[in-house]
């Protein structure tokens, strides 16, 4: 019974429209309330030619439209001296539900990065695209550019449901297509209904885009049936996986859905709730947490169940302190049982027990693979740091553009920042192979140590304002050194998940790395060890504030020991626990223990 909840929970309900009377609410809540369905003063900000930035409050609201305001932190002090404001630009995150785009969409994204971005395309850890370095004056043109190919950025960021993830490897399961359909349905269902997105970016025209449904075209006034006018207390993430692949790291999400099939047909999902990886250094009351498995839901009820979970979080989530706003804290605060009781009440029925499932890996498997018997094949390419760009002798971006000119299948973005060229026609295979070799891509994307192929890095410096240290720009260099240790110990084929982020907010899911490196300050990282290989156990702090030499010094003997003493098929993360180097983390609440 909901009324039995502590009073403080009830304060955070949907109908708290008059936020001005509640001074305890966080600043962002006030901004949302006053924003008139995410408009704020964005229109005025866009027209202000004196600054490349948007107004302070608008920096919060633009996230809901899919982008962050950033500055080039490398140039910060230099420009200050030059009496120039910071070099403001925007990172646009384009939603790709389940990570599937066609060749036309790929080409358009490529073109937009040339015209308005920094000529690189970032594939994210949530299967979306990021265009970096877009100037304020080019925002509308950029958004219109991908809207024309039915891509959108609404809800790319912000306190709403973000890009819905789905296992990307189509060859692994016959039910993949059905799972992707559920992912797309969830994405659509949780897309904000405000027309602010069209008003601001698409000249008010409700031209068709993937963010627009027929239903919404008929609406004349803004109304958010799921979110309400103040949206969610914090970001919300949903991911779907098809075992044995956990390439979407479903336990790191607010809602994780594990596909359950019977006789080659999708029958429903095991549901896990309350995952989330962000934390704050120096605040042990913040912690990364994996989702709790709560039961099974049939396919047809999945969207409805998810909506009920979202609405509980909407009503119960903490809106006073954003550090404790995620669903994971809501659940741990009220207790999982209380939460499930409420869910049962809102859902109107019981969940049946979770079905057996088994995940083997959260990584990708690379190279060519056969398709489903139609003669088509798939090719998974390793994209270091998820960054699609051209360098002398390594023309990845050009190669993919050339392939997109004739490829009839899809481009699938994986949750590990990699790329699957899916459903390649038989006649195209040799040509694709040739392009990748000629452009210097093949060796860089395929012939690497398994350690590097299992690496993830967030963007960090120089554009992310949260970063304390390097990640994407630095990890390749660190891997050069670690590769030597790996090769010297015959571990070139040992897939070890290594993940680096520039801050503890968790974008590259470092807490699920068998080796996790989280930036503390420039050049210094906390080293975490002991996650499993399938995204079902988080790691634990092993050494604090280590620099490059110390990282090599700490990891070398462990890798040597692993090479010599591992049991058959034993993963590195399991090995360090068995050897007692770290204790296993069994729940978010004992992550710091």
């Amino acid at each position: 019974m909901r009324r039995s909840h502590p009073q403080y929970l009830l304060r955070h309900n949907l109908n708290m429209a008059d936020t001005s009377s509640n001074p305890k609410l966080s600043e962002v809540e006030h901004i949302k309330t006053a924003s008139n369905f995410l408009r704020g003063t964005i229109a005025e900000s866009l027209e202000n030619p004196i600054t490349g930035a948007v107004a302070g409050d608008d920096t919060q609201l633009i996230k809901f439209h899919g982008f962050y305001q950033q500055t080039d932190r490398d140039l910060e002090s230099e420009r200050k001296r030059q009496k120039l404001e910071p070099l403001y630009s925007f990172m646009l995150r384009v939603r790709v539900p389940g990570g599937v785009v066609n060749a036309e969409q790929w080409l358009r994204m490529d073109e937009l990065t040339v015209r308005y971005g920094n000529d690189t395309l970032k594939l994210t850890t949530r299967q979306s695209f990021q265009i970096h370095g877009v100037l304020k004056r080019d925002l509308q043109r950029t958004i219109q550019g991908f809207n024309e190919v039915l891509l959108d950025s609404i809800a790319g960021c912000g306190d709403v449901n973000r890009n819905v993830m789905c296992s990307a490897n189509p060859h692994e399961s016959g039910v993949h297509k059905q799972v992707h359909e559920v992912a797309a349905a969830l994405s659509q269902h949780f897309t904000p209904r405000t027309t602010a997105y069209w008003d601001l970016w698409l000249n008010g025209q409700q031209a068709y885009s993937s963010a627009l449904t027929t239903e919404r075209q008929e609406e004349h006034t803004d109304h958010e049936p799921i979110y309400g006018s103040t949206y969610l207390p914090r970001k919300f993430k949903i991911a779907l996986a098809v075992p044995p692949q956990n390439d979407t790291d479903i336990f790191a999400n607010d809602i994780g859905l594990i596909a359950v099939e019977e006789n080659g047909k999708l029958i429903g999902f095991n549901v896990a709730i309350g995952g989330g990886l962000g934390m704050t250094f120096g605040m042990p009351e913040t912690y990364p947490r994996l989702a709790d498995l709560i039961g099974f839901v049939p396919v047809e009820d999945t969207v409805d169940l998810c909506e009920k979970i979202v609405t509980i979080q909407r009503d119960w989530g903490n809106r006073e302190n954003r550090k404790f706003s995620r669903l994971k804290y809501t659940i741990d605060r009220v207790g999982l049982d209380t939460f499930l009781t409420e869910l049962r009440q809102r859902f109107g029925r019981d969940l049946t027990p979770a079905r057996p499932y088994r995940f083997e890996t959260s990584g990708d498997s690379f190279g060519w693979s056969a398709g489903d018997g139609t003669g088509k094949s798939h090719l998974t390419l390793f994209i270091e740091g998820g960054r699609v760009h051209d360098q002398p002798g390594f023309e990845l971006k050009t190669a993919l553009r050339e392939i997109a000119e004739f490829h009839t299948g899809e481009f699938r973005l994986t949750g590990n920042q990699n790329l699957v060229l899916a459903n390649i026609e038989k006649g195209h295979q040799a040509r694709i192979q040739e392009i990748l070799e000629n452009r210097g891509v093949w060796t860089r994307t395929q012939e690497q140590t398994a350690l590097r192929l299992h690496s993830l890095a967030c963007t960090a410096l120089n554009t992310c304002s949260l970063a304390f240290a390097e990640a994407e720009r630095y990890l390749p260099h660190l891997l050069d050194r670690l590769d030597k240790v790996i090769q010297a110990n015959g571990l070139s084929d040992a897939g070890i998940l290594i993940r680096m982020t520039g801050c503890p907010n968790g974008c590259a899911r470092p807490y699920l790395g068998e080796i996790g490196l989280i930036g503390r300050s420039p050049g210094r990282y906390n080293l975490y060890l002991g996650a499993d290989h399938a995204g079902e156990r988080m790691n634990k702090l092993y050494k604090e504030m280590v620099d490059e030499e110390a990282i090599i010094r700490e990891l070398t003997p462990l890798l040597e020991a692993y090479a010599q003493q591992r049991q058959p098929a034993e993963r590195f993360g399991d090995f360090v626990i068995r050897q007692g180097h770290v204790k296993a983390t069994t729940h978010g609440l004992n992550f710091h223990a």
Binding site: I50, L75, K80, Q82, K83, L84, E85, R137
Partner: protein, 612 residues
Amino acid sequence: MTSLQGTTLPAGLDDATLQQLSGNLTEQQLLWISGYFYGRYAAGNGTASPQTAPASTAAAPAPATAPVPTITVLFGSQTGNSKKVAKQLADAATGRGLKVEVKDMNDYATRNLAQEKLMLVVVSTQGEGDPPVSAEELHQFLFSKRAPKLPELRYSVLALGDKSYVEFCKIGRDFDERLAELGAQRISDRVDCDVDFEAAAEEWIEAVLEKITSEFAPAPAASAAAPAASAPAAVKAEPAPTAYSRKHPWEARVLESIQLNGRGSSKETYHLELDLVGSGLHYEPGDALAVVPVNEDPLVEEVLKAARLPEGESVNLGTERLPLSAALANRRELSVLTRDVVERYAALAPHAQLQELLTDTKQLQPYLYGRDIADLLTDFPAELSAQTLVETLRPLPSRAYSIASSLLAHPDEVHLTVGAVRYEAFGRRKQGACSTFLADRIAVDDVVKVFVEHNEYFKLPQNTDTDIIMVGAGTGVAPFRAFVEERVELGAAGRNWLLFGNPNFTTDFLYQTEWQQYLKQGKLSNLHVAFSRDQAEKIYVQNRLLENSKEVYGWLENGAHFYVCGDKVRLGAAIQTALTEVVQREGGLGADAAADYVRNLKKQRRYLEDVY
């Protein structure tokens, strides 16, 4: 003037002279002058208090004969140099007991021209042969059909100019030749002065006054000590001149040198902060700072190579003896080729083509453009001694930069905004001598030789309540930084509006954070920017002016002063055209009336330009 009939006149003073002296005067002026002369007489003799009320002594007899007619000194000035010389002339004339009236061409009533007897003209030439704004009207009048015959007039002209321009001293020449055409007679020949005009001006002053005093009877000694007479509307007191000059520059330490353009810019602009502590040097917003450059070594080497001379050879410059390379680096203009140099050089290097160039201005101008001394020496080789070479070249002039700071905001500092000039021409890399000297060859703590060049007219309104509109492109924003700083320090109530243009927003928004701050604090009321290359179609400040025509016109009607600083050719003309269109549109005026409106703004010194 009838009451003088029958009065006993002092010796030497007859009716005709009296008539001549007073013919054009109104009654009020007569009354004033009578008192004035009495006062002067009293001061000279020490017999009466100068405070004596003029009206009560109106009938007092004129004390002395006036054999020399009053000299009208007419100046047409843009930056104040002509005015300065005119003032100097007036002092010298007064010292010789001559009577002078100093008049600004801007305020001169052309109908008085026919009555003038003795007139000394000091006028400058702007850029490619234009009159200063203040001289435009008189210049036009003289060349019109309405110009009267001037058989009675005796005159002389001092022309100020810059030899680096082909139309050197054209306006002075125009005045000189036209007055002769109208029947006037020269007292002495016109003198054309280059940028370092002081010595030549002094010579002219001495020569012309000598001529006048020797031709006319000397004035009585009594008036020698009297101050110069001046028309009521004429010259106000000038700020005490700085002791620093080209010959005696202040050696300013560089406190700061910052490249203002962000990475990837097509521009290269420097912000320099120079130390004035101990100099006593004073400037006002709108003034310029002259910098004495040093030529870059590669150019000196090019010139030596082209002249086929060894660097070690010594040359004489005045009483000094120094190595040729030092003379070329520090004392001679090398990077700009001018007509005068070509003329002198042609006399030594008999090339037919060179002669041809000199006789045809249409050919000469394009030849000079983009070429330097090394080009000339290479194109037309000649055997020159080191000594002849330095004598053929012109002295290295200082370069003036609009000051970008207010002394009130930065006591004991002067800031400059300098655009580095670099280009490729005729097969060689070329550089602006002074801009790259400041950009490349001096660093923080180095010393730069500087002095202030006052700009008489490009000044903030006296009344701090008056609004100002500032239009600056590129480094043209410099004086407006000084203006706004000054007005902020003064707590001026008048509104400030800046329109700024440059190629790209992210890299070329000069002083962006300062403007943002002023805007936030309300100290800048309006800020409009035009970044020409940020979009497919080019957008310039003049477009912003037109887009905001209603407000611009409103401000002008409210008495705002309008300032333009930047490139003369590209900005100056475009802004005038745009402003005329603004007036036409918002004032509902015809094209001619709008042009008159704008011309009138200029005449009232409410439309001021610092263009280069």
